[in-house]
């Protein structure tokens, strides 16, 4: 490790001959550069970015966290102009937070001279977005292809709990990046670095503070040649893979006061959250629901029935206001009365009611997919809370009452993000796996006839189970029937749906079922007196979703699934089967998935059974070729034709 660092320092000193990493020292070489050397597709690049986080004392003697960011950005192409408009949001909902830009300059090469255009006040805007935050925005002047821009902004905030994240990586290449963090001896922070980019951390040193009479611990992070971040399909949240450094306050130890511990591990994160009045206290109230719940609970005795009764009661009474938080906002009592609440109000209320009915229920902290994976212990890693019931056998049932269509262990998809943390009444905590283990099935049965003109008519029955059912109810049931059918007809180009019914719309315990009649005039090809068609009809997948040769990031599917198709197809009079595709069975390595295809015929009827199993919802990039080949084999088979000839 040491060797690598030494080598790294060596590199640094070499490259520093060519470039000066100080605002205002733009070189002619930088201005002359036409394309980015490592990434010719880059429309712009960060030539260097320097961050400095440190503390100072304000006039009243309180600590203020200062974060300074300096950037030099090269604009190669017109598409890169967007990087010449910079916005920084900041919190304005409480104590004074200051944010200001300075030293914003655009450099251009005019002949062989450097032309410098400074940002004036007419290029700087402050927007009050709402009560809680504002945005400072600058539009750099005189930007052209080839320009180099520079700017610095400084954030001064008393909220040292919310240490600003530092991004080493962004949507354009970053040639050089350095972050220095200086933390007074009175604070302990934990830090966490995620992402794939190589970032070196130098050993921590203790230095005397330049102004005040205390020591700072100083640490420096450096990175070079960091690749641009590019979007890929099937990624839950690209932030999970971006190189970002985060800090979390672990403890304060001010002179003349006791040590105050915050979250240094998951246990204490959980405890800190539990101890907050907007969390733990809210679990203790019960008077608000007793009178409503008592009469209902009296009649049922079985444990399972009590769970279902309470879960359904909360789901039907409460309406989620689409706000995420593990803290209550208006509190469970008010939420209960108004029938509207945020996630915490609804699920803590659920937990409290279950406990009231003698069920061992606990809250589980969750980070939603949009919030990113909670990699390391901190309070902001989470943004959501659900409920877990501890079973006799040590297993758990997970409940989230914010969606009307959820079931025990069938959570809204936003929750399916690795692990959460359960907090018990005694404030101990435990990691809980949130990823669905069961395979969500879909069963499709089709009976169809083909006539001599090539028209297909038939009946289809589609049964959705588990997560498939939940997703169907969440997304499609709220569409109008006509719009839904029009969407299906669009998806399966050319199919026309006649009589259509659904079953078990509200009966969540049962599979969601669709039954319909269809005709399709464009499925079958009649060429030279023969008839050709795919035996999976319009259900045959035609396009491989994985087109790229290489993959940077893992592939995420919503949940493991199984699709099982059975077709029974009657061929037209006057024709006989000339050839059928062959049966096939493909299994991905480590049983990550499989595709089985069987076909046979009896008289004028062709029977097809096809099963697709995808047993994992997360594939690391190493498995990308496997996954791509699996889809290729599957699609090829699904598109092989049955050939009919005239008798």
């Amino acid at each position: 490790m040491k060797k690598i660092i030494v080598l790294f320092v060596g590199l640094f000193s070499v490259s520093s001959f060519a470039q000066n990493f100080e605002l205002g020292k733009v070189s002619i070489d930088e201005l002359k550069e036409k394309i980015h050397l490592a990434d010719s597709s880059a429309s712009a690049a960060v030539l260097y970015k320097t961050g400095k986080n440190y503390f100072e004392l304000n006039s009243e003697g309180y600590f203020i966290l200062v974060s300074e960011i300096e950037q030099r950005v090269k604009i190669y192409k017109k598409e890169g102009y967007e990087y010449a408009t910079v916005e920084v949001p900041y919190y304005t909902g409480g104590k004074l937070v200051r944010l200001y830009f300075d030293k914003a300059v655009t450099y251009n090469l005019v002949g062989d001279k450097i032309e410098k255009t400074k940002l004036k006040s007419d290029g700087e805007f402050t927007e009050k977005v709402n009560e809680n935050y504002s945005i400072k925005k600058i539009a750099l002047p005189n930007v052209k292809e080839g320009s180099v821009i520079e700017y610095k902004y400084t954030l001064k905030t008393p909220y040292y709990m919310a240490f600003p994240d530092f991004n080493f990586q962004t949507s354009i290449p970053v040639n050089k990046v350095q972050l220095t963090v200086e933390i007074p001896q009175y604070f302990t922070y934990r830090r966490f670095l995620k992402g794939y980019a190589p970032i070196n951390m130098e050993a921590e040193t203790v230095v005397k503070n330049r102004v005040n009479n205390y020591n700072d611990s100083r640490i420096v992070f450096k990175g070079e040649e960091i690749k641009a971040l590019k979007e890929e399909s099937h990624v839950n949240n690209i932030d999970n893979y971006t190189s970002i450094l985060q800090y979390e306050l672990a403890a304060t130890n001010f002179p003349n006061s006791v040590v105050e511990n915050f979250s240094t591990d998951w246990e204490s994160v959980a405890k800190t959250i539990y101890d907050d009045k907007n969390f733990g206290n809210e679990l203790n109230y019960k008077s608000y629901f007793e009178k409503d719940l008592d009469p209902l609970l009296k009649s049922t005795l079985k444990r399972e029935d009590r769970i279902n009764l309470i879960f359904n009661y909360v789901k039907s009474r409460m309406n989620w206001n689409e706000k995420n938080s593990y803290y209550c906002n208006v509190g469970v009592k008010k939420a209960y009365n108004e029938k509207v609440g945020n996630v915490a109000e609804i699920n803590l209320m659920l937990t409290a009611m279950l406990r009231y009915a003698n069920i061992k229920a606990n809250p589980v902290l969750v980070s939603t997919q949009a919030n990113g994976i909670a990699y390391y212990p901190n309070r902001t890693a989470y943004n959501y809370v659900i409920c877990a019931i501890e079973q006799e056998n040590g297993e758990y049932i997970l409940l989230d009452a914010t969606s009307k269509n959820s079931l025990p262990d069938i959570l809204p998809l936003r929750n399916l993000n690795w692990v959460g943390r359960m907090i018990r009444e005694n404030k101990t905590s435990k990691e809980i796996d949130l990823m669905p283990k069961m395979i969500s099935r879909e069963l499709i049965n089709v009976m169809a006839q083909i006539d001599a003109e090539g028209k297909i008519t038939g009946k289809a029955r589609d049964q959705y189970f588990d997560y498939n059912a939940c997703a169907f109810r969440d997304y499609y049931l709220k569409m109008s029937r006509d719009s839904y059918l029009e969407m299906i007809e669009k998806r399966y180009n050319g199919v026309e749906i006649g009589e259509y019914t659904t079953n078990n719309d509200k009966d969540l315990e049962k599979p969601m079922i669709e039954t319909y009649d269809f005709t399709h005039t464009n499925m079958v090809e009649r060429i030279g007196g023969k008839i050709y068609f795919s035996p999976m009809l319009y259900f045959a997948k035609v396009e491989n979703p994985f087109k790229q040769e290489k993959r940077e990031f893992p592939v995420d599917f919503p949940f493991p699934y199984q699709d099982k198709y059975t077709f029974s197809i009657t061929i037209p009079d006057g024709y006989e089967i000339e050839s059928l595709p062959k049966a096939l069975s493909v299994v991905m390595e480590e049983n990550l998935g499989s595709f089985k295809f069987n076909i046979s015929s009896v008289g004028k009827t062709i029977q097809v059974m096809a099963t697709i199993d995808v047993n994992s919802s997360h594939f690391s990039p190493n498995y990308y070729p496997t996954l791509k080949d699996f889809y290729k084999a599957m699609i090829e088979k699904q598109n092989e034709k049955v050939v009919l000839k005239k008798v």
């Binding site: 709402n130 539009a139 709220k478 109008s480 006509d482 464009n522 030279g528 396009e543 790229q548 598109n639």
Partner: protein, 635 residues
């Protein structure tokens, strides 16, 4: 006569019944036909506009909307815009349950505020909106507000139906003004509508609409302005951010824009004057000069929409654009105009609606209209149109954002309504030439050379500046019907002089031809198949429009694998219809070679909803022919 009487009776019936329910708003009393295709029903949308002086307009709104399901939430609205000259004097809402009983009151302090700025749009406009989570469906929102503005240049248009999937029980509009302001109005799609009653007054008008059924969003629908009843309003003597304006004719209005918004904005610093004069040199041809100036602007500036204060209507000074190197459409257009002026080429600031869906300035109604500005360059009786917000458009290229619509050119002599360039089908071409061969395993390899012009150029030319990576992604999706695709070579050239985009692609893929025993089956149109068929509607409600035509021609030589013979191939196919012409020809050159020729023209037009199914069938036949396959069998 009898018919008429019935209508009258019905009218009174509904009138009385709505009157009787006015305070209760029972969901049960909504008539079934208003709920059809509706996510919400407007029980009452009442707007009273009172213009008490040139500098004061008050708008009272009462909206009572029953939300039938979750999707209907977006129909509620319950928000108001405000800025420095527009103040919200009161705003409140009451939520009623299905039985009309009040379940919640939302006071002004419970409304949330949000800025309308985002990204490169900077404005001081804000919005106050209701944040309400429904506890049950259906429910009814009774929203009331009073807004006062000192701007009288923009009187909101009244739409009898405010949005799709909404039935309307009753909608009213009542407007009155002062005589000296010369109030005027014009209604559209209202004459002959039995459900809308109009009442004219001195210096005002009112409309009452009763029982309008919901409209749907449908593919190929023309702008709703073609079929929704709506009314435009205006004052001949108005106030815009403290500037007094007049709009009695387009000529006068243009003079006013010129004198009040443009005059004095076009000063260019002498350094830039010298620079531009040096660039132009001795060139005399106004078009060549304009090309030089346009290129100069494209290289120097970028688009940022800054709509602050009067800047929302008046262009930023040319000298500021010169210094900052950015501006919005008004600023960049005016800057280009100022530079052209320096070198003695006249050009006109032009107000237009910029949108892919065409929208005219209403020639027969003079008022503040348009949402975009471009530059008109008159040379020898012909008009060239310059889009000054683009850093990449070829000179004089309009594309589909501002084509074929009425716009207002502003000159020192006044305004004039002019139509911008119309792209006819034969201008929007895609000409392709190529070949491919299939081997005995069904793999395809081939190359294609495509040239695109007109609106087809518009669709593609941004690819000219894409990176190799992004081009690879683009062609993988462009040829997404070919699985296992490998792109061997991609070469694109954006010829801005000729306004022509060329593409050369070399590709290969395994399993293009599907094996079936001894046979190989594949589609002969490998490169340019029409895939999507227009959406089928159980009952089409709106008329439809094909806004621009196009013309594609493909000529592809196909090499067949050795050792195979053609067992069956598609027959030549041709259709001619009012929607377009299509022709596919398959010529056997020799036993191992075929020539595929395809012509596909789509015509623009505006059609009745009854024609929609025919249009769909036309496109279905094209898709079917494009997908038709050849069968080869081993010899």
């Amino acid at each position: 006569m009898k018919r008429n009487f019935l209508h009258l009776a019905l009218f009174f019936l509904t009138f009385f019944s709505t009157f009787a329910q006015d305070d209760t708003y029972l969901v049960a009393s909504i008539s079934p036909e208003l709920k059809e295709n509706a996510n919400a029903v407007a029980r009452l949308r009442q707007r009273d506009i009172n213009i008490t002086s040139r500098k004061s307009m008050t708008i009272l709104t009462k909206d009572v909307v029953t939300v039938l399901n979750q999707k209907g939430l977006s129909n509620v609205g319950a928000s108001e815009y405000f800025d420095k000259s527009t103040k919200i004097k009161s705003i409140e809402a009451v939520i009623l349950n299905a039985f009309g009983k009040e379940i919640k009151k939302i006071k002004r302090k419970d409304f949330l505020e949000n800025s309308l700025s985002q990204g490169s749009i900077i404005t001081d406009g804000k919005i106050l909106y209701m944040d309400y989570t429904p506890t049950e469906y259906p429910f009814t929102v009774v929203f009331q507000s009073e807004v006062e503005s000192s701007n009288t240049a923009f009187i909101p248009t009244w739409n009898a139906i405010q949005s799709s999937y909404e039935g309307v029980e009753k909608a009213t509009l009542n407007i009155s003004s002062l005589p000296e302001l010369n109030f005027k109005y014009k209604d559209f799609n209202i004459d002959g509508n039995q459900n809308i009653v109009k009442e004219t007054k001195l210096n005002g008008v009112s409309y009452t609409a009763i029982n309008l059924v919901s409209i749907k969003d449908e593919e190929y629908s023309p702008s709703y302005r073609n079929y929704i009843p709506h009314v435009l309003f205006g004052l001949e003597n108005f106030n815009l951010e403290g500037v007094e304006g007049t709009a009695s004719s387009w000529k006068d209005f243009g003079s006013w824009v010129y004198a009040s918004l443009l005059a004095g904005t076009d000063e260019v610093p002498w350094e830039t004057q010298a620079k531009i004069k040096a660039l132009v040199g001795t060139e005399k041809d106004p078009i060549k000069i304009a090309r030089i100036v346009y290129q100069y602007v494209q290289n120097k500036t970028r688009y940022i929409s800054i709509q602050l204060g009067i800047g929302g209507w008046k262009p930023m000074l040319a000298k500021d654009v010169d210094r900052l190197g950015y501006g919005d459409c008004k600023a960049l257009t005016n800057y280009t105009r100022a530079l052209l002026n320096v070198v003695g080429v006249p050009s006109y600031y032009t107000i237009i609606y910029g949108d892919r869906q065409k929208r005219d300035l209403r020639e027969d109604f003079v008022s503040m209209q348009g949402n975009h500005v471009i530059l008109a360059l008159p040379v020898d009786g012909k008009m060239y149109w310059l889009e000054c917000t683009s850093q990449t458009n070829p000179f004089g290229f309009q594309g589909d954002f501002t084509d074929n619509r009425l716009a207002l050119i502003v000159t020192s002599e006044g305004g004039e309504i002019v139509r911008t360039h119309e792209y006819i089908a034969k201008e929007n071409t895609q000409m392709a030439n190529g070949n491919f061969s299939i081997d005995e395993n069904g793999s395809i390899s081939g190359s294609i050379f495509i040239k695109s012009k007109g609106t087809q150029y518009d669709n593609k030319f941004s690819n000219g500046s894409k990176s190799a990576d992004d081009l690879n992604k683009f062609y993988k999706s462009y040829f997404s019907h070919i699985n296992n695709l490998k792109l061997k070579k991609i070469n694109v050239v954006n010829n801005k002089e000729e306004v022509e985009f060329s593409e050369e692609v070399l590709l290969e893929a395994t399993e293009y031809a599907k094996k079936s025993g001894e046979r190989l089956i594949f589609a002969l149109n490998a490169y340019n198949p029409v895939r999507g068929i227009p959406q089928r509607y159980r009952t089409r409600m709106n008329p439809f429009e094909i806004s621009r035509g196009f013309y594609d021609y493909d000529e592809i030589t196909i090499d067949l694998p050795k050792g195979f013979i053609i067992e069956a191939k598609p027959d030549n196919f041709e259709i001619k219809d009012k929607f377009g012409d299509y022709k596919a020809e398959y010529v056997v050159l020799n036993e191992n070679q075929l020539l595929y020729k395809r012509t596909f023209q789509t015509n623009s037009g505006y059609f009745d909803k009854n024609e929609y199914e025919n249009f769909r069938k036309f496109r279905e036949q094209v898709a079917k022919s494009d997908n038709s396959k050849i069968v080869l069998v081993k010899n």
